[in-house]
């Protein structure tokens, strides 16, 4: 590890970290804490207005965080190979859930989108779990049938078929953002799993055509595109959100207006505590805060890809790669949207945005990553370095 601290590391940390990637744990912890902080700050006005107390959203988020930490702990303990075994069951359950969500009366509607299931005090968003299930599916496919994806009809298309089935259900909610996210993630997985670049390119073109048709089918999506192209042209209506986001970022300057002192969260910026929370971070903590957040995300993603590249077998490799790429895409897409580089889609920012299902699933996936990246610690290793060469269990760190 870090040389000057070798002694301290060996004495204090190594006996306890049980082979988990501490840097990933650290980055996740800092992101989660930033999320708690920013959600409290950004949700205060809306919480106060609609629930009579400024703490409602924070409390809700903390409850989900507890659930998420439990899920993460579970994922850390369960050998990740198991997920491959449970895949068929999960696919079936997900299919049923996605249909349930669409049924009025069961599916809970927010802002015109039917994405949630009420489960006691929690609203569960099945599409969040779908991301992981499809990643597991593709990772498992690439593991089970190596080299098959090099052929379009026999390798790529079956994946698309499964994906298409589920994504159709997602689009019906409607949840365009999640669909784009999943499609891109899976495409990138097929790419590193041996898919031919030309197949990937054609598929991308096909997706774009499909996406364009979807955009044209819904006026609100069309207006989002137009607003993206010229937000100032319709600054009070369709361009409103992105302009308010600009104003938030712009107010921040180098050092920000100060934590809790955002003005844009005072009902100027819609979705300030969910999809657009990064704008509030930009306003309150400035460019310095934005760069720190980017650094945290980068560290997180770096560790994710490092785990993927260092994995001992293909399923873990593809699974870690898929999860990390999902995070990477979601972060990039969200930030691109809030900074006006892409049309509005409705994707939450992992760890920072308010949203229970997203947080629980994110932590769960971090748990899986940690499990894949786990190394047997030296303490557990038999002290017979001279007699047996450690071929199956590589050295820790």
């Amino acid at each position: 590890m870090i040389k000057p601290f070798n002694f301290l590391y060996r004495k204090l940390i190594e006996p306890h970290h049980q082979g988990y990637d501490l840097i990933l744990v650290g980055a996740t912890a800092l992101l989660v804490l930033s999320g708690v902080m920013m959600i409290y700050s950004a949700s205060t006005p809306i919480s106060d207005r609609f629930h009579g107390s400024s703490l409602i959203f924070l409390r809700n988020h903390m409850a989900h965080l507890m659930v998420g930490l439990a899920a993460m702990w579970a994922a850390m303990r369960v050998p990740y190979g198991r997920w491959q075994q449970w895949l068929p069951l999960a696919l079936l359950a997900m299919f049923l859930l996605l249909i349930l969500v669409l049924i009025p009366g069961i599916g809970h509607q927010v802002n015109g989108a039917r994405r949630w299931l009420r489960l006691g005090m929690f609203n569960v968003q099945p599409a969040e779990a779908l991301k992981l299930i499809l990643i597991v599916y593709v990772a498992s496919y690439l593991n089970r049938k190596p080299g098959r994806v090099a052929q379009f009809l026999r390798g790529v298309l079956p994946n698309f078929a499964v994906m298409g089935l589920f994504l159709t259900l997602v689009v019906m909610q409607p949840d365009f953002g999640t669909m784009v996210l999943i499609a891109l993630t899976l495409l990138l997985m097929i790419f590193v799993g041996g898919g031919r670049p030309e197949h990937i390119l054609y598929s991308l073109l096909g997706f774009c055509t499909l996406g364009a048709l979807l955009v044209l089918s819904q006026t609100y999506r069309m207006r989002r595109i137009l607003a993206f192209l010229d937000p100032w042209g319709d600054r009070l209506d369709s361009g409103f959100q992105i302009i308010q986001s600009y104003l938030a970022f712009g107010s921040g300057g180098w050092g920000g207006v100060g934590l809790g002192d955002s003005r844009q969260k005072m009902f100027f910026l819609p979705d300030a505590h969910t999809d657009f929370i990064f704008s509030i971070l930009g306003e309150e903590l400035g460019f310095a805060g934005v760069m720190t957040a980017l650094l945290l995300f980068s560290t997180f993603l770096w560790r994710g890809y490092r785990i993927s590249l260092g994995a001992r077998e293909d399923f873990g490799r593809y699974l870690a790669y898929g999860i990390t790429t999902l995070f990477a895409l979601q972060i990039v897409l969200n930030l691109a949207v809030v900074m006006g580089l892409m049309p509005t889609k409705g994707l939450p920012l992992p760890f920072l945005s308010f949203g229970g299902s997203s947080l629980v699933m994110s932590l769960f996936m971090v748990g899986i990553l940690l499990n894949i990246g786990r190394r047997v610690p030296p303490a557990v290793r038999p002290r017979t370095r001279e007699t047996s060469a450690p071929s199956t269990a590589p050295a820790g760190g």
Binding site: G193, A248, S251, G252, M266, M291, L309, R317, L335, L341
Partner: protein, 600 residues
């Protein structure tokens, strides 16, 4: 390095050989995306910071003007003639009122406002409407008790005038935003006005205020302490008002000067108004005619003409004049007297107030010399009653009109000798007559004794100021005797006598110059009387002017009795007792302030 960062050495290679390079490609793609995002953040947050933050500020910020407490206007004893008190002003956010009709109904009952107009206001789409400003404490507590959602109060200072109409045209008044609009309030506005504060209120997108600005009220304005004697002001207004009512006059003006110091003890205008509710009165009542307007003084000028002639030595106390039996042709004009007179001494000329002889006296002086005297009496120049600490002259004073030397004709010369063809404000006239009372010194009338800062420290003191010596004591002694005769048993001003005191005075009756008819009116007059008392040791110099009386027309009939009554009541208040014991005099306070000495 890259191998270590990405853990490339320790893994078993994937079955697909292209895995590693392709993952590195994807990572590179995301690194590029990350750099792009950082660049965009830099662009938005640093390069466009100025523009965007200004826009954000503009949509959320609202400025509410909050003025500091306006300073007081005090009388000579330090009592408030004008003061500012904290009041509530109610406003509403119509967007947040759920039941405009009910709210309007309840507010209209509590604040005595028309319900219909209120309902329209509350139902509007504006972000902010005033309901009623500067309400009474009772109204305020009633509305507060209703606890109406969307209705809020803002603290504002309200100007009140505890004396109601007392010295109203002199004090003036302020508008709803505490800007002085008339009188002293206007002239001294920049001194009285509190610091202009702006409270920055941040507003959320729902229009609700999120107060973040400085809550402290800005600094208050300075005060001014006037020389007004409240009791004398009050009785002067009462006596003047009585005369105006009795004679059916259009208006009346009175000025009471403290003769030795030049301080203005009272300055009355009738009809007046109540500055607390100034909107209920006609605008013509707002003006302080004693200072802001010029009149032709008429016969009261004759004593000043005589004084100038005596000073120059062209006449003596025993010089005789022929008064042409009431009609004298001078160039192309004919001068009349009210009664025909033959030969008269200087004493007689003043006593019977002969225009013809006054003109002859005036014509004995070369034009330049006569004009020089008029100018030195203070006519044609502003007194400088309102002066800021930095010496700047403040607004609101008339200079009168004195014909320029070049346009001076013999006819003008003659007319000016008996007070026509010259415009003089009542205060200028009182100050000029006060020259006789002081033994020849022109004193600058003082209205503002002290200017105080907001903490009550004196920043400017206006003491007795001698503008210049105009006449010698010998001359004034002679003129004083001439004026005593006017109030004597067969003088025109005999009704101006004050029982128990020796009075020196002069009547004046002027025909009003009708601008439309381009001539003097035969039916409209200005009756005036000016004098000082006690004659040999003057304490008060009083000018009374009644404009267009319907009953009576002569100064000796209409104005002189007012002079008499004011003097009779005011002198005991200053500790000056009548020779034969009090008669027709109200009970004086035991610790009556000594003349010219302010007692708090």
């Amino acid at each position: 390095m890259a191998r270590l960062l990405l853990n490339l050495d320790r893994s078993v290679p994937a079955r697909f050989r292209g895995f590693r390079p392709r993952v590195v490609m994807v990572i590179a793609l995301f690194v590029l995306a990350g750099l792009g995002l950082a660049g965009r953040a830099l662009q938005l947050q640093v390069f466009q910071h100025e523009r965007l933050s200004k826009l954000a500020e503009r949509q959320s910020r609202r400025l509410i003007r909050i003025d500091g407490k306006r300073g007081d206007i005090l009388d000579r004893n330090g009592n408030r003639l004008a003061a500012s008190i904290k009041t509530d002003s109610f406003y509403a956010h119509p967007a947040r009122i759920e039941q405009p009709a009910l709210t309007a109904f309840r507010l209209s009952r509590a604040l005595n406002l028309p319900q219909g107009a209120l309902e329209k206001k509350l139902g509007s789409k504006r972000g902010f409407v005033w309901i009623k400003r500067q309400v009474t404490p009772l109204e305020s507590s009633t509305v507060r008790a209703l606890k109406l959602p969307g209705v809020n109060a803002l603290r504002e200072y309200r100007r009140i005038y505890p004396g109601r109409g007392l010295a109203a045209p002199l004090l003036g008044f302020t508008g709803i935003d505490a800007e002085g609009l008339e009188g002293l309030e206007y002239a001294y506005n920049s001194h009285l006005k509190g610091a202009e504060g702006v409270r920055v209120v941040h507003r959320d997108a729902l229009g609700r205020s999120v107060l973040r600005g400085d809550r402290a009220f800005p600094g208050g304005g300075g005060s001014i302490r006037t020389t007004l004697h409240p009791a004398i002001q009050n009785l002067t207004e009462a006596e003047l008002s009585r005369a105006v009512t009795e004679t059916g006059a259009a208006m009346g003006v009175a000025v009471v000067l403290h003769a030795p110091s030049g301080q203005i003890l009272a300055m009355a205008n009738v009809p007046g108004f109540n500055p607390n509710v100034y909107r209920d009165y006609d605008k013509s009542t707002y003006f302080n005619q004693a200072v802001t307007n010029g009149f032709e003084p008429g016969s009261t000028m004759k004593v000043l003409t005589a004084a100038a002639a005596l000073e120059e030595g062209v006449v003596k106390a025993d010089t005789l004049f022929y008064c042409e039996n009431g009609q004298w042709r001078h160039y192309d004009s004919i001068i009349h007297d009210t009664k025909p007179h033959g030969w008269l001494g200087l004493n007689g000329v003043i006593r019977v107030s002969s225009n013809i002889c006054a003109a002859k006296i005036g014509l004995l002086l070369p034009p330049g010399v006569f004009r020089g005297y008029l100018s030195r009496y203070g006519f044609g120049t502003r007194i400088g009653l309102f002066v800021a600490p930095d010496g700047r002259r403040l607004a609101g004073e008339a200079e009168g009109y004195l014909l320029p030397g070049k346009k001076w004709t013999p006819v003008d010369h003659a007319a000016m000798s008996f007070g026509h063809g010259v415009l003089v404000s009542p205060l200028q006239m009182a100050a000029a007559i006060n020259i006789i009372a002081t033994g020849g010194l022109l004193l600058k009338p003082v209205l503002v004794m002290e200017m105080l800062d907001s903490n009550g420290r004196v920043i400017q003191k206006n003491t007795r100021t001698v503008v210049r010596r105009v006449l010698s004591e010998q001359t004034t002694a002679i003129v004083r005797d001439l004026m005593k005769a006017v109030v004597g048993p067969d003088g025109t001003g005999r009704r101006g006598a004050v029982p128990g005191y020796q009075v020196a005075g002069k009547t004046g009756t002027t025909e009003v110059y009708d601008i439309k008819a381009r001539g003097y009116s035969k039916t409209r007059h200005i009756a005036s009387f000016v004098g000082f008392v006690p004659a040999d040791n003057p304490v008060l110099t009083i000018l009374v002017m009644v404009v267009e009386p319907q009953k009576g027309r002569y100064g000796g009939v209409v104005a002189a009795p007012v002079f008499s009554r004011i003097a009779a009541r005011a002198l005991p208040l200053l500790g000056v007792w009548p020779a034969k014991g009090p008669r027709r005099v109200p009970i004086a306070p035991k610790n009556a302030p000594k003349p010219g000495v302010a007692s708090r």
